[in-house]
Symmetry: C2
Subunit: 135 residues, 2 copies
């Protein structure tokens, strides 16, 4: 069902400051940057092996990532898995009684289709399922 880790997402307050940190300290090269208004974030991606590090910064304080940072501070936010078909992955999650944040896929960055699974029934880990467009 899971093909690979598509990305590991880190919640950050100031996207430019964190991009600079990951470039200067860890020597990474920025691959992609995009505002995803539907999720209330701006994202920056760094390729690392067959996965990405993703920095996600809230567009304002009253967004899921904004509230996460107010509550817990900056840090690890979610893990995203590439799946072959997102409807099938959502059906499997439903069969196993996982609590879904998204009952239907929605648009993610890079023209992906994504759906989030709630941490409550997944040992505290927020999961994003990602279907990558192949064309």
């Amino acid at each position: 069902m899971l093909r690979r880790v598509d990305h590991v997402a880190l919640a950050v307050s100031d996207l430019n400051a964190s991009i600079e940190h990951y470039q200067r300290v860890w020597g990474l090269t920025l691959s992609h940057r995009e505002v995803v208004a539907e999720q209330g974030v701006e994202e920056a991606m760094f390729r690392l092996g067959d996965t990405y590090l993703q920095l996600v910064a809230p567009l304002d304080a009253d967004t899921p990532v904004g509230r996460f940072i107010q509550r817990r501070g900056e840090g690890l936010h979610h893990i995203a898995y590439e799946v072959d078909g997102i409807e099938a992955a959502l059906a499997t999650a439903r069969e196993h009684d996982l609590v879904l944040i998204d009952k239907e896929p929605r648009r993610g960055s890079r023209n992906t289709r994504v759906a989030f699974v709630h941490p409550r029934t997944n040992h505290g880990v927020l999961v994003e399922l990602v279907e990558i467009p192949h064309n």
Copy 2:
């Protein structure tokens, strides 16, 4: 400096229950399981693409992972990066004024040499640097 994400570590209370969850719900196959007494944990690894998901369970409550779970609950714990040479990676981290948990490398699971970098100077993310033995 960073070659790839070696693993993403998830803190869990009950290792057997979480292994069962990742096998049954997410369809993963267990690759490795090991007690690392020096770190006060038992670990389980699932291969996923060129990285691993790692479950870490505390050997008792008064360990770093035990205290993490008491404070924040189960969830994303740290991200581990493979580096070519751990001494050079530690020297780079020191040059950039990162706070090190380990000033010298110590033994990790799978005969790796590892060192942890404190979240405080790394935008809230606990990092493990990992040198893999090549022989």
